[in-house]
Symmetry: D2
Subunit: 337 residues, 4 copies
Amino acid sequence: MIIVTRPDATEEQIDHIAARIRSWGLKAEVSRGEMRVVIGVIGPEDKIREKPLGAFPGVESVTPVLKPYKLVAYEFRGRHSHVQIGNVVVGAREFVVMAGPCSVESESQITTIAKEVSKAGARVLRGGAFKPRTSPYSFQGLGKLGLQFLAEARRATGMPVITEVMDTKDLDLVCEYADCLQVGARNMQNFSLLREVGRTKLPVMLKRGMAATIKDLLMSAEYILNEGNFNVLLCERGIRTFETMTRNTLDLNAVPVLKAETHLPVVVDPTHGIGLREFIPSMALAAVAAGADSIMVEVHNAPEQAKSDGEQALLPNDFEDLVGRVRSVAAAIGREM
Amino acid sequence: MIIVTRPDATEEQIDHIAARIRSWGLKAEVSRGEMRVVIGVIGPEDKIREKPLGAFPGVESVTPVLKPYKLVAYEFRGRHSHVQIGNVVVGAREFVVMAGPCSVESESQITTIAKEVSKAGARVLRGGAFKPRTSPYSFQGLGKLGLQFLAEARRATGMPVITEVMDTKDLDLVCEYADCLQVGARNMQNFSLLREVGRTKLPVMLKRGMAATIKDLLMSAEYILNEGNFNVLLCERGIRTFETMTRNTLDLNAVPVLKAETHLPVVVDPTHGIGLREFIPSMALAAVAAGADSIMVEVHNAPEQAKSDGEQALLPNDFEDLVGRVRSVAAAIGREM
Amino acid sequence: MIIVTRPDATEEQIDHIAARIRSWGLKAEVSRGEMRVVIGVIGPEDKIREKPLGAFPGVESVTPVLKPYKLVAYEFRGRHSHVQIGNVVVGAREFVVMAGPCSVESESQITTIAKEVSKAGARVLRGGAFKPRTSPYSFQGLGKLGLQFLAEARRATGMPVITEVMDTKDLDLVCEYADCLQVGARNMQNFSLLREVGRTKLPVMLKRGMAATIKDLLMSAEYILNEGNFNVLLCERGIRTFETMTRNTLDLNAVPVLKAETHLPVVVDPTHGIGLREFIPSMALAAVAAGADSIMVEVHNAPEQAKSDGEQALLPNDFEDLVGRVRSVAAAIGREM
Amino acid sequence: MIIVTRPDATEEQIDHIAARIRSWGLKAEVSRGEMRVVIGVIGPEDKIREKPLGAFPGVESVTPVLKPYKLVAYEFRGRHSHVQIGNVVVGAREFVVMAGPCSVESESQITTIAKEVSKAGARVLRGGAFKPRTSPYSFQGLGKLGLQFLAEARRATGMPVITEVMDTKDLDLVCEYADCLQVGARNMQNFSLLREVGRTKLPVMLKRGMAATIKDLLMSAEYILNEGNFNVLLCERGIRTFETMTRNTLDLNAVPVLKAETHLPVVVDPTHGIGLREFIPSMALAAVAAGADSIMVEVHNAPEQAKSDGEQALLPNDFEDLVGRVRSVAAAIGREM
């Protein structure tokens, strides 16, 4: 922690700050420049991260030296982690495609789509049973029935399933059916939910919030690991910017940054990221080239009838074509599928 | 709903779209311009808001004519609503100041601060017992004990209390103690929580999420009203922008827009909004002048010892000074305190 | 300057960095914490601000201690500056209202509006002769003729005029007519233009760019002062955010921050800031309360016929009403008009 | 153009709007829904794009049907354009790599780097002689001397050169030396400069501003084409968002959107886009996969001595390695190098 004092800070104020730091069991090194006094704090930074140093008279700025995340940090493991969803490993040399509809709408819908995407090369099936919708008047998902249909689709195809849990009270139910839990962008800082999914044994895919910095995302993941669950995948799915031609701004910059900062695997969701069907394949390929471990893509066999997000679902044929191109790009950067 | 077709849309595609609209019981008016065909949809827009019209071949854009919110819309009431917190009315001619510490830390802390802010002119006491914190290693609040201390401070001062609920499983507990529930910025789109607070009888202050548009905020409020609870206050508390000199960007533009769009009262939180102690009074006064009904300000008697956000807490003396200035500006725009 | 090294930085790398710092005539203090080595650089920070320290092997981060602006810094003067536009002083106790149409359209248009706004209480007349327009097909301003009409309106009312200069090649011409130059948001980082206006004797109002941080704005002003022209006003006029209900997001947070960081006067342009006529008065009053020295408001006597931005122009009557309210709020915070 | 009226719009107001539209030679189709009256305007939209329809009493919103750009629109050509820089064609099947230092610093520096990048596979040499710098105290470029050194490097390698022009008054000089003009992000809406470069015969690379929407970028390009110069390349180089771990947020979403909206070639600058040396290769590969026609990368042989942006320059060896990977990804998506 480095404390820069104000130009008008008094000796008394500086002494007061240094004394407090020492009272917390840390070392304070006072360094006098021409214009400013700088106080370096030496010792375990955690001890004082929560101290309101900025509230002390005479302080201009407080800059941490160490990162606030520990368990998710790349250094914690020193290698990239593999996370297993059913029989599929994410984070290893194989590039993994996850696909499925936005919402589970019926047993035949999810089973039909599951078979199509599996045939095309998808390894994990997605489908929402609990749907976070901006409007209370929109389709909110089939709930338990949707989970049962998902299980049916798994039986029919052998694909493990990933599905969203929106609330702690639904967690037990979702855990009965899911192979991987999804925490959505809107719940990325629902800390109660993070703690609870951290107490399950299931892998968790945590989506980046629309206004969440990469650091925020890592801190939210830290909540899950801190409860003992290290099977976490991080998912970039688009942030909010001023651009209006796309639904969100898929931030692929997060991919190489995350691969350097954390050992956790990185998934990219180009569907929500750009939100326009015709541009999803380009962003999917870019995600592969940027170094993601996996992509998650929405596919629907009858988008005109979809109960949510039909506008951004790929048709099975387009998806099949995309998987072929993903395979080529993955091979070009030394990954396989 | 207005559908603009692509320049290369075929007659067949246009007929298909019009036919589907009619099949939903609405009227489709096809209007042929020189460059584009436009299809106007006449009838209750709700019926087709959820239809994936953008997924139909030949569609370039779909623009709604009506607003997606109903119960929160100003037109629904035709006048501004008053929301009662204990014995205090927000949204009437009186400008209401809410104040208190970020977190409840001890009985003496909260009671001392409550007495100070009450004496200075605050009408509602704030204080967090359940704290949403970016880091799992930060102080997470005293929970039930914090609620009991809050109740003690209420007894000592007569001020009603507002406190945050973070999860549906804590709701019953919080309802036992609170006069007003707060749903925090990070939970603004926790739709399960919104529905549950909508089923209580308590007033709810809903804070705008950091990446939430004004429309998103109104839609989240709609969830609460839709469950039967009309006692909702909306709170602007800063959005995420590229600016780094301030903690957030308090968006006062939201104040007049909300006052025109909805009948619900508008609160401004300058503390989190700008996040720098010395600038909070300026933003508080600006909030009054912009037309807010209330401000919520963090005050601490010993910021250096605060367990959260000490850097941005006003001292009781500074708060008292601020209330005097708020009173002057309120009077200047025809409100009283 | 504080350099934090990577956890895996070698002694050789640390020595190399320290040696280079010393070779530039500065002192390097190496401080070894438990997890990181921190190198403090002592001496005039300017000398190394431009050195690519981040390019040195072993460096994790480089944090400046001092601010990069000097002439604009509040400390440079130790008091707030007054800037004189014709016979009007901005930055003193008097709150100054500037008003006029977006574009000068005809002699009668600008003279009529000038008389109206002058009567209502405006002290400076605005009007664009060179107009920066997003589209090449939009009205681009009357150029020299517009400047002549402005001069005519000045003669008719006695108000000094402010008008935009868009390019170095028009500067001499604009200087012949203007009492104050305006550098628009889109030219805030047109450094050639900044240098040239810095060589004139006229006051300059510099508008904040739509993606400019407060620091960027101050650095651009520094260009002007660095050429010898200290008569600079800074204008907040709205930044780009994700919000779409307003044209821009007027960032009033910038007002108190600028008043603390710089001695230069601060103007707010609520018209472009929120961009919706009915909400401009609220934002204007908020700007006064936030501590601005002046506001600039667009007024048009026939908005339906305006050649630019008619949607956001106040009618003369509404403007007169606004000035009365501005006067009340200004009085409430101890300023006069 | 589609005009939606307010719920309380009177018949008189609606008639007034329709009458005005007809007075401009267009057709007005009034369509009465249950809640709103909608007025469709039929005829050349350009005629009324500039009319302040939003200023008319009774209007709630005005939505254009057609796009405001014409010459840059994909439909204008119906195929993608090729732009020739010296002997290099951008926009055809060949993927083009442009490279060079941020600034031209000396003849030996630019010639050395030019030879290195040429050998590694770059086809166009970049290097700044006029440098837009946030601070007036930073290195501002060598000006004419820098242009002469660039010409020398061209002679030594045969590579055409691209260099920035910052001001209309420098344009003739830059045109003497450059094969392609660059208009920087900060000048993207310097409309005087856009017009002037539109009158030259040289190709122009227009960089997207930090707060510019894709539509803004296209409108700025329209200025250049409208003056007769169709040899324009568009360059995505990162936008401003709330993320602070990267210098900017490279918006690769813009790539497929631009390829669909315009016939102009698309270049991506990953160096400024993410601004962190170690992550540039990932973003460069992602740009290729997203469908860009070219990338521009900064390379320096001695980043520690660079006079600008040394932190984000690749070393020649790293660049050579990158080119090999770019070639593989380009091949994987059916392009050659």
